[in-house]
């Protein structure tokens, strides 16, 4: 109680740096009051957020509805995203090895960073590692959220952000040209499953007039490496087929 005690009228205002233990004060009531004032502001902000952001309830779980695009809660997104970088046989890395190593590193940090010094600048390896990990986690989370949003948009028959938007019209209003082209046959067997047999859209966005926006080269590049929910090469089997479809699509100018 030597420091930070009550101020007696007539005595000089206390200066914590003049005291032997500058600035220490008892936990109750002095310090806890400050903590609780911070807590009150925090809690008030939280309650206001809660009141103005009501939580909605989705429709009841339906195990038969496989069209629902699943996504974990946001704080698991970084792990979820990690998996996408370890496809196929490497799945093991994404599911266990990387998260496990991360968890163990975190758990045993005190035994990995044993130097006595505590200042973050004086132990660059630990500091850089943590900064890097934090940014990686934030980036992975953001990437997963963006990709999920694109998938949802694609599944709802809307073009992903940044892609040309072709208005939805009735299939009977669409006149595709050059339907004797080999690209047309390939289109009917693959692309049409999602984009509709007249390119009117379905699970994927409408593309009946895509030639108005993109030329054959741009279409080829896109089909090879699509964004949104579209599968690679649009499920076409060879680059040659992709080229045929792209050439034919480029002629469709609506």
């Amino acid at each position: 109680m030597a420091a930070g005690g009550e101020r007696i009228p007539g005595t000089p205002r206390y200066r914590h740096h003049h005291l032997k233990n500058p600035g220490t004060e008892p936990f109750i009531p002095n310090f806890l009051l400050k903590e609780w004032i911070a807590g009150s502001v925090f809690l008030l902000a939280f309650m206001l957020w809660v009141v103005f952001n009501p939580v909605d309830l989705g429709s009841k779980a339906n195990p038969d509805d496989t069209s629902f695009i699943p996504v974990p809660d946001w704080y698991f997104l970084f792990l979820y995203q990690l998996l996408k970088y370890f496809p196929g046989d490497n799945e093991l890395f994404g599911t266990i090895l990387v998260p496990m190593v991360g968890a163990l590193l975190l758990l045993f940090a005190p035994w990995l960073d044993t130097k006595k010094t505590r200042h973050p600048y004086k132990r660059p390896l630990a500091t850089a590692g943590m900064v890097l990990t934090t940014f990686l986690v934030i980036w992975l989370t953001n990437e997963a959220a963006v990709q999920h949003a694109a998938e949802v948009a694609a599944a709802s028959g809307q073009a992903s952000p940044g892609l040309p938007v072709i208005p939805k019209i009735e299939a009977s209003q669409i006149h595709l040209v050059d339907t004797s082209d080999p690209g047309y046959q390939l289109f009917q067997n693959t692309c049409a499953n999602c984009h509709g047999h007249s390119g009117e859209g379905g699970a994927g966005p409408p593309i009946y007039a895509i030639g108005k926006y993109w030329d054959a080269k741009k279409l080829y590049d896109f089909i090879e490496n699509p964004v949104g929910g579209m599968p690679k090469k649009g499920t076409l089997s060879s680059d040659d087929d992709v080229k045929k479809v792209a050439d034919w699509l480029a002629k469709q100018k609506g």
Binding site: F31, F46, V50, V55, G58, A61, K116, H119, P120
Partner: protein, 223 residues
Amino acid sequence: MLKKAYDWIDERLNVTPLWRDVADHEVPAHVNPAIKMSAFVYCFGGLTFLVITTQILSGMFLAMYYTPDITNAWYSVRYITDEVLLGNVVRGMHFWGASLVIIMMFLHMLRVFFTGAYKKPREMNWVVGVLIFFVVLGFGFTGYLLPWDQKAYWATAVGAQLAGSIPWIGPYIQTLLLGSHTVGALTLTRFFAIHVFFLPAALLVLLALHFIMIRAQHIAGPL
């Protein structure tokens, strides 16, 4: 009157030294935001505890209306959301609080890490803290299923598939996690039990250890 009751208890149990130790210990200046504003980073741990407390309370009050059963769970949550007075606020507190716990705990962990507070002699408290983090993630995973809506169901289905992709033991882990071979009635009861009985028990023990160790070892000194 109150003092008399206190003295009566104190005479028998000698509680004064216990709480005086907590009440009177001197808090150093470098963690006091009233002296140095930048010391607010030392509040993250306390704020995490504050949110955890509201989570426990809002969870208790939600449990008065919730039913962990696949035919009723969704309807009971809808009843809480649409029918019960301020039920949507209590649910909102639990929903948003879950995210807030994670955020505050992550910030608290970064503070401890960057100030090197986990170094000798506080290694054990760091380990306990990391375990608390894992327990809280467990709360998040199990709690997400409970409203039994489409998001909940499919997120759990994906999570279970991931567990199932672990070589050799994966399928067994998946079955044990789900209590069944698919996400269903047994999964919901299992997740409910984990969420409201097992994990809170673990959390309270770990939190007690966390706080006792802070008290025993004091806050790490200034950098």
